[in-house]
């Protein structure tokens, strides 16, 4: 009786400890050590030397800027559009299930397939996006070369895959809003738009926090898109690392170049940034939405 609850939860904690927690701590340990690439073994304790290297490595710093740029270009429009789509879905629609399933369609396309498709849409020479730009008399854009435009294209595929998913989450929250709140707002003379801003938005605040925090955690670890968007064989986020993200940096440094210590230090830096931003997001979202309510 006293023992058995622990038996129920122990498989999770044992396995999670082995494949989740331990590697994370081990990463911290490795980040404080040199790594003898020649002998393939751990070198001596070198304190924060790896962190010093990573934080002064222009490529890592560039990757951090890229990570944030792509993250902002994907998360902000994504949340706004998702809330809008959710508001549309939150009506007495004919074919409710059809619409809900339809907005979710991109989610079942794996990121690898998505980036290959978008890589072709945004191809520098023969892409359909450039063909359209050309058709309306604009200069074609070198999507795989120019730094901010490449971020735009990458953010586009992330948004494509996740907007509908987040819209469904917002929809669930909107449907949980008590209907009489709308009725009394309508009695007070609030129109539909006004109701949306003064009833719906404050009421879905916890869900906003949830979505923003989870999209932060995911958005700062983007890897598949920048790696496969690169059509040079090195695949390090463009010839000048224009769109190399920090996760890609960890992969290139750690797995390809086998600088295990440095890659581990980079992983911990990114790890701390993600946790920090998630907490910050949590605080800011609470503050902002509370003022509305």
């Amino acid at each position: 009786m006293k023992l058995s609850p622990y038996l129920y939860i122990s498989p999770f904690f044992i396995l999670f400890g082995l494949v989740g927690l331990f590697p994370l701590i081990y990463t911290g340990y490795l980040s404080l050590h040199d790594w003898e690439r020649l002998y393939y073994q751990r070198g001596e304790f070198i304190g924060l030397e790896n962190y010093r290297f990573v934080l002064t490595d222009p490529v890592f710093l560039k990757s951090l800027v890229n990570t944030f740029s792509i993250f902002l270009m994907s998360s902000v429009p994504q949340v706004i559009v998702a809330v809008a789509v959710a508001a549309l879905l939150d009506n007495h629609l004919h074919g409710r299930t059809f619409w809900r399933m339809s907005v979710l369609l991109p989610f079942v396309v794996a990121p690898t397939a998505a980036v290959l498709i978008f890589g072709s849409l945004f191809a520098d020479k023969y892409g359909v996006v450039n063909a359209i730009l050309d058709g309306v008399g604009l200069e074609p854009i070198r999507w795989h070369v120019e730094r901010w435009w490449s971020h735009f294209a990458i953010a586009g595929m992330v948004n494509w895959r996740w907007t509908g998913y987040n819209a469904l989450i917002f929809l669930a929250a909107m449907q949980a809003v008590p209907r009489d709140l709308y009725e009394s707002a309508a009695l007070d003379g609030a129109g539909r738009i006004r109701q949306f801003f003064s009833v719906t938005l404050p009421m879905i605040r916890p869900t906003m926090i949830f979505v923003i925090v989870t999209s932060t955690i995911g958005g700062l670890q983007i890897f598949t898109e920048p790696r496969l968007f690169d059509d040079t064989p090195q695949r390090e986020g463009g010839p000048n690392h224009q769109y190399m993200t920090s996760t890609l940096y960890i992969y290139v440094k750690g797995i390809e170049d086998q600088f295990y210590g440095r890659a581990s230090a980079a992983a911990w830096v990114l790890f701390l940034i993600i946790i920090g931003i998630a907490l910050l997001n949590f605080g800011i979202t609470r503050l902002l939405t509370r003022r509305h309510a």
Binding site: P11, P23, L93, G119, A173, F223
Partner: protein, 274 residues
């Protein structure tokens, strides 16, 4: 906001849905043309008649079927394991009283925010030291459990199983484990199916970890990775690459057609309670 919507609402939704479907349509358009046609300016806008030729080229350049089988094995194994372990733990957290349960559950929730997948370097070293590199076991290991799964099952079981039912089963002399099997599992079945589906898709679409753990062996995503490389040259062979991307998407589209409702329900359920 529960009103009869006008055509504006339908129009906007339709625009969004069509926009969402266009990239998939595009992959089929390009994937059904020859390499030369696909690289024309302006590009073709309607499907051509060469999809089967391109599909054959995909099968010639990659070990597509064995990659798909590998994906199926790994995804099913992880999904089954996550489902089983999460139901056990979720039940204990939802329905059993024990010392430290709040602290431990808090720990589970916290770890959902921890990006454990950043720890690829030590995981890679561990797999190498234990001789697991390039095996499906290595691909599956890190996703045998997820904190999200435990959280999800706990949230579901709190309401799905009335405490009286557990009491009654115990009065009837059921052991703890029998109570679990005869009361909790039947009630948990819908949530278990959704959790299986989610984990399956998560593992199926994962790219980074198989890329680290595998060398010769391929999952579907790794096969696509290799395909994209062979498609490169003076001009990228998008007909080949997009035919492959389309073929790799078909299994999930089938899964989506069969269980899209559950997927939608799962996302919306997880949200309200999350």
């Amino acid at each position: 906001m529960n009103r009869r919507p006008g055509f504006v609402v339908y129009g906007l939704l339709a625009a969004f849905v069509i926009g969402s479907a266009l990239p998939l349509y595009w992959s089929f358009v390009i994937g059904s043309h020859t390499k030369e046609e696909a690289n024309q300016v302006p590009p073709p806008l309607v499907p051509g008649g060469h999809f089967l030729d391109n599909a054959r080229r995909v099968l010639d350049t990659t070990d597509f079927w064995s990659a798909m089988l590998n994906s199926l094995i790994v995804s099913s194994a992880c999904a089954a394991s996550v489902m089983f372990v999460s139901t056990l733990a979720g039940y204990a957290f939802a329905k059993l009283r024990f010392r430290g349960s709040n602290v431990l559950m808090g720990f589970v929730v916290m770890t959902m925010a921890v990006p454990t997948q950043l720890a690829i370097v030590p995981l890679f070293i561990l797999m190498r030291d234990y001789g697991l590199l390039d095996t499906l076991v290595a691909v599956a290991l890190p996703t045998l459990v997820t904190a999200f799964g435990v959280f999800f099952m706990r949230q579901y079981l709190v309401d799905a199983v009335p405490d009286e039912l557990i009491e009654a089963a115990r009065m009837d002399g059921c052991t703890m484990i029998r109570t679990f099997w005869t009361v909790a599992v039947p009630a948990a079945r819908p949530a278990m199916a959704i959790l299986f589906l989610f984990t399956f898709m998560m593992v199926w679409t994962d790219y980074m970890w198989p890329l680290v753990a595998l060398q010769e062996t391929e999952t579907l995503q790794i096969a696509l990775d290799r395909l994209a490389l062979t498609g490169q040259g003076q001009t990228t062979d998008y007909a080949l690459v997009l035919a492959g991307a389309g073929m790799a998407t078909v299994p999930l589209l089938i899964l989506f057609a069969l269980s899209g409702r559950q997927l939608v329900a799962g996302i919306m359920q997880g949200a309200v309670k999350g």
